[in-house]
């Protein structure tokens, strides 16, 4: 009971759940005598990290660059476009329906096109991450900027507050929780985007590495790659959470 009510208790339970999964994984492989190429044990997976040929560090760095690059660009473009929309209602009315339609395109389907346009490499994969991450940021930010209490608007008007004051003192800080909500969704999508990009065409990165070791049935290395990709995603998500914690008051956060 105490575990549920204290912060430390909940933290302990969370760690315990992860450790239990590891244990279950280990026991399943060990007791079930599952072949290594089907499912390696946690130990075998860790051992794959020491195969120098795989260039884990440089491949991880490449994938991280793609994810963070595409994500940062999505953040800048998404927020800027949303801001543009609040300043021009015409532009918003013109562009928003179009963007909703574009959002419906499965971005993964653009992969082959992106390769045609930008060739192989870090840049096209960043574009893949960007194209998939930009929409949630743009759409939630635009929504956040639009959400303003009519009475609050009256309060500002009764004091002859300027459009700029309304924007800087009320709209922008009010939209910040929405920006973060969009950023969290986008963080998960950006990772998927970068990896899909690497699957489709690449000569570096963790996704590329996975395709290489698949040929030799080095399942432990594939497991390790998945774990590293997940850790990259967690790093990005954690960073967003940290920033949200610093900049958004508890009660204002959008879950």
């Amino acid at each position: 009971m105490d575990l549920l009510n204290s912060k430390l208790g909940r933290y302990t339970l969370g760690v315990a759940a992860h450790l239990l999964l590891l244990l279950a994984w280990y026991l399943f492989v060990r007791l079930g005598e599952v072949p290594k190429f089907v499912m390696p044990s946690p130990g075998d997976t860790l051992a794959a990290l020491f195969v120098a040929d795989y260039g884990w560090w440089s491949n991880t760095l490449v994938t991280a660059t793609e994810i963070f690059g595409g994500y940062s660009l999505a953040l800048v473009v998404g927020v800027l476009l949303a801001l543009l929309f609040t300043w021009s209602k015409t532009l918003e009315a013109l562009m928003l329906p179009l963007l909703v339609t574009l959002n419906m395109i499965p971005k993964v389907a653009l992969g082959p096109l992106i390769i045609v346009w930008f060739k192989y490499g870090v840049f096209p994969n960043s574009m893949m991450a960007f194209s998939i991450a930009v929409f949630p940021i743009l759409l939630t930010t635009a929504r956040g900027l639009r959400e303003i209490e009519p009475d609050l608007l009256d309060l500002v008007r009764s004091l002859r507050g300027s459009r700029w004051q309304l924007f800087t003192k009320i709209q922008l800080p009010g939209a910040l929780p929405y920006v973060f909500a969009g950023m969290k969704v986008a963080a998960i999508l950006a990772v998927a985007g970068a990896i899909v990009g690497e699957f489709l065409g690449s000569d570096r990165g963790l996704g590329y590495l996975m395709l290489q070791v698949q040929v030799t049935l080095d399942t432990p290395a594939m497991f390790m790659a998945v774990i590293l990709i997940t850790l990259l995603g967690m790093l990005l998500y954690g960073l967003v959470m940290l920033l949200e914690h610093l900049f958004v008051v508890k009660d204002a956060r959008v879950s």
Partner: protein, 274 residues
């Protein structure tokens, strides 16, 4: 914003029959307003004729659709009106529509990301007042509304009643001559509401502001108002305007007195509820 709402210039002639000593702070005569959407017309208020003296607390009471909020927005300069005269301010009490209005709404509308004191300071920021002096005044006002110690809290840390106190402090920060309140206690529970009524009367006395208070609570209107203006719907119009001769300071047990009942019955009758 609305040319018909005029701030009386200090040298403006007095309206007929009123000397400087008795000149009203707000003068409304035959005010009406029609909302148009497409070809549909909706009469939001009509026949509104009443004066508010400087330092008076006037309660506008009526059911929803009677035009009380519309009237408040006309006074705030947020809406224009179609007919009649609206004059705010007098020789003795000149009125600047840009900085002499404080507003309190049904919801506290505090900015979640600002501490209480910074919420109170919002109008001062919008008006570009000197901030050091405003900050000192904000502390005094928070003390006035009973929120000493809550300066650095965030809105979510306060109860609904306390948030509304902060909203009242915010409405006073720029020292407006007129405070407009639109059902400010409508969202509070009954006990908190009674308590806030007493608090408001105290704040009103101490601040000396002219207050126009919109409510659909009949006994709240009688309890708070030095004057009550009754509005009725269908069509929206002003139906009555009378002074409340109950002594100040008002106490809750006045509500059980006969005179209180006379006033509330008068309003119930106008609203067709008796």
């Amino acid at each position: 914003m609305n040319p018909a709402v005029t701030a009386a210039a200090p040298d403006a002639p007095h309206p007929a029959g009123t000397g400087p000593a008795t000149q009203a702070f707000i003068h409304l005569a035959g005010v009406s307003k029609v909302y148009r959407s497409g070809r549909k017309e909706h009469l939001a208020i009509s026949d509104a004729t009443f004066d508010v003296m400087p330092g008076e607390l006037v309660a506008l009471v009526g059911p929803s659709g009677c035009g009380k909020s519309t009237l408040l927005k006309i006074l705030a300069g947020l809406h224009g009106h179609d007919q009649g005269t609206v004059r705010i301010g007098s020789d003795a009490h000149p009125f600047d529509p840009a900085r002499d209005i404080g507003m309190v709404f049904q919801a506290p509308l505090l900015l979640k990301w600002r501490r209480i004191i910074d919420n109170v300071l919002l109008p001062a920021e919008l008006l570009g007042l000197p901030m050091a002096a405003a900050r000192a005044r904000a502390r005094e006002l928070l003390a006035l509304v009973g929120l000493t110690g809550a300066e650095d809290k965030y809105p979510y840390e306060l109860s609904g009643g306390m948030q509304q106190r902060a909203a009242i402090a915010r409405s006073l920060i720029h020292d407006p001559k007129l405070v407009l309140m639109d059902e400010p206690f409508g969202a509070l529970d009954a006990l908190t509401r009674e308590k806030m009524n007493l608090e408001l009367l105290r704040i009103w006395k101490e601040s000396g502001k002219t207050i126009v208070f919109v409510t659909h609570g009949i006994s709240e209107a009688v309890f708070l108002g030095s004057r009550v203006v009754v509005l009725t719907p269908g069509p929206a119009r002003m139906a009555d305007n009378f002074e409340i001769h109950l002594p100040h300071p008002r106490t809750l047990d006045m509500k059980t007195q006969e005179q209180f009942g006379v006033y509330t019955r008068r309003i119930y009758r106008l609203l067709g509820m008796e």
